[in-house]
Amino acid sequence: MSSEAARLRFKTWTCLPVVVLANASGDFFMKRGMPHSLHTPLEYIGALFQPWVALGVVLLIIWQLSRMALLSWADLSYVVPVTAVGYVVVALLARIFLDERITMARWAGIVLIVVGVSLVGGGTEPQTTQAVRGREAAR
């Protein structure tokens, strides 16, 4: 296994938690801060200035930017399945902080996602397209 592949794997696994956590926490704060009834466009714009919603928006911007950085070296067919682990994070956060019950069907879904993510994340390299670059690339 070349050091270039190891370098990309390390970089990918450093970036992935940022992508997944920014997405999950961004959605969480958006939902927490969003008023229940929004009608006029002005109310939608006003909602963006609610503190929790604003925090959610900032986190979702971080999510998109970190995802773009990740996609600058990792395959789409790698990033898409692996970041689905976010669904598991959200389900577990809802269980811990919101006392939401996890049904049997949900547990089954969580298991399937975790197995799917491990197959792609553990079994395949993040990058399959570009030729591996020379030694100058090593850090």
Binding site: A69, S72, G123, T129
Partner: protein, 120 residues
Amino acid sequence: MKWLVVGIMVAATTASEVLQAYGMRRHGEIRDFRPGALGRALSLMARNRYVIASVVSMAFSFFAMMKLLSVTELSFAVPVSAVTYVLETVLAKYVLKERVNRLRWAGAALVVCGVALVSL
């Protein structure tokens, strides 16, 4: 009506993600994470036509999802949006020319089923 919105949402999401991946591939690997270098990368990305097209599709996808949520429930909208995982994997193979081996196919399929179950 419902399925038309689903179609628009799925098409816009898939287009957005494939364009984002293609645009970033053209940009090249981000190696320098110091603020100045990130700022320069950001300004290049803002002028990358594939990234711009991706953001436009993302806006369509966002509003289609809002519309879908207003005509159906979350427990329909989220599982149905998992279809994009399959489409994106297919396009990653044929358009982005990624090597999608059996493990990736199997992983993507399991994730789709898992997402559907989690959100039901």
